[in-house]
Symmetry: C2
Subunit: 247 residues, 2 copies
């Protein structure tokens, strides 16, 4: 399983992905799910992927290889819009599924896969897209300034409570890590390390890129403080008057 989240805020963007891949619970390995395509001053493009690893890896490899072998065609390094990049990623995924999908289905292997892709290309504002398994895609809006893929539900409530487009990048990063903590507590197949990338709006460079490994002191402290804080809030919640006299 996988958990990835990306946020588009007034001040910039936060991207994060876990690194656990499993083909059955007895075959768990670590694979980064974040890819970064960057030329300082020109473009920062970040992809996060979930689902069948062979499908998402192949789709990204096709994109990279074609941009190298046929640099004049529309590709990741010359597209003038992130909208086009999202479309290219969807098409590449469809192509890989056309090639491999039938063989996977024959063995009941799930071929579904999805991407989050976002960042900024010079001449455009920062943008964020989610590419579905069918290759179609949507863009984040002011009302929904974030996307999640993979094991999304455990970590969603905290984001819904905290995040607005005005949230600053520090709080958004903290919110992201708390969301990962909640997810990892409830689903053992999502695990450290977490790849984290923070992008300041209009910087056109990767501002922070951090890998949070097992035993990371900041992440441990954050998780402990959050857990203790929640318990503190919980024990001070009001008690229902219809309950206390009888129980």
């Amino acid at each position: 399983m996988t958990y990835c989240v990306a946020m588009k805020l007034d001040s910039g963007m936060v991207f994060a992905s876990d690194s656990r891949t499993n083909a059955g619970i007895d075959n768990i390995s670590k694979f980064g799910k974040m890819r970064v395509f960057t030329r300082v001053g020109q473009r920062v493009i970040v992809t996060l992927s979930a689902g069948n690893l062979s499908i998402t890896q192949s789709a990204l490899n096709l994109l990279e290889q074609r941009a190298r072998t046929n640099p004049d065609a529309l590709g990741i390094w010359n597209a003038i819009s992130l909208y086009d990049i999202a479309g290219l990623l969807g098409e590449a995924m469809r192509e890989v599924k056309n090639r491999d999908g039938e063989f996977l289905r024959q063995n009941n292997i799930d071929a579904s896969a999805s991407f989050i892709v976002g960042g900024q290309i010079a001449g455009e504002t920062q943008r964020l897209f989610q590419v579905y398994s069918e290759g179609n895609f949507i863009e984040a809006s002011l009302e929904t300034p974030y996307f999640q893929i993979g094991e999304i539900k455990y970590g969603k409530p905290i984001i819904d409570r905290i995040l607005t487009p005005a949230t600053d990048l520090t709080e958004a990063t903290q919110c992201t890590l708390v969301s990962f903590d909640s997810t990892m507590r409830s689903n053992v197949s999502v695990g450290l390390p977490i790849d984290l990338l923070v992008y300041r709006n209009d910087s056109l460079s990767v501002d922070i890129q951090q890998r949070i490994e097992d035993g990371d002191p900041y992440f441990s402290q954050l998780a402990t403080r959050w857990s203790e804080g929640l318990r503190g809030v919980f024990v001070n919640l009001p008690k229902p008057d219809w309950l206390t006299p009888k129980i």
Copy 2:
């Protein structure tokens, strides 16, 4: 969608279910999903149901009707063990699915359904079971003292953080309601009213039964205090030193 949760603690049990049923997002109605079979001093049996409403209702109706028309056969009013009740419920569900399942499948209607059933029968300890859509079932243990069915993920992290078998019934009730609040915030198809039942171990009677309606002052206060409390904890979380100098 539905959300139901039940907890088995040293001091008793807590059962809760929402009341929203939808057959498509344009056809939402309220149906209680909790049924209580009780004879004071003899038995308290509580069922919570999720999934296809026609399947779960029919299965319960079969159980009730057979206990009435054939009171000597093994049934809800004479079984000496909750284990047998869980088995009866699973069998009744299989029977209804045999009758209706093929017709539902013809129109791609999901026939899956599940139950939580728990309580106490005189002569036994309190017990809690989850009956799967296939009719097989499992019993709650010390390690996992609770079951959820329906839209389970949004409300799971808070239970995992708070609940142990030693949690008292007041805290377990608060935890249940916070879990519902988290679920309802993230999934509009889970909604008030909430049916809540609290059972004290060995009382062999329903100790608290409460319906929490829209605008319930206690539930509103709990949700507000929880939300404000979380924000309070959040804003006091430590900031990562690799982030603050740059962002």
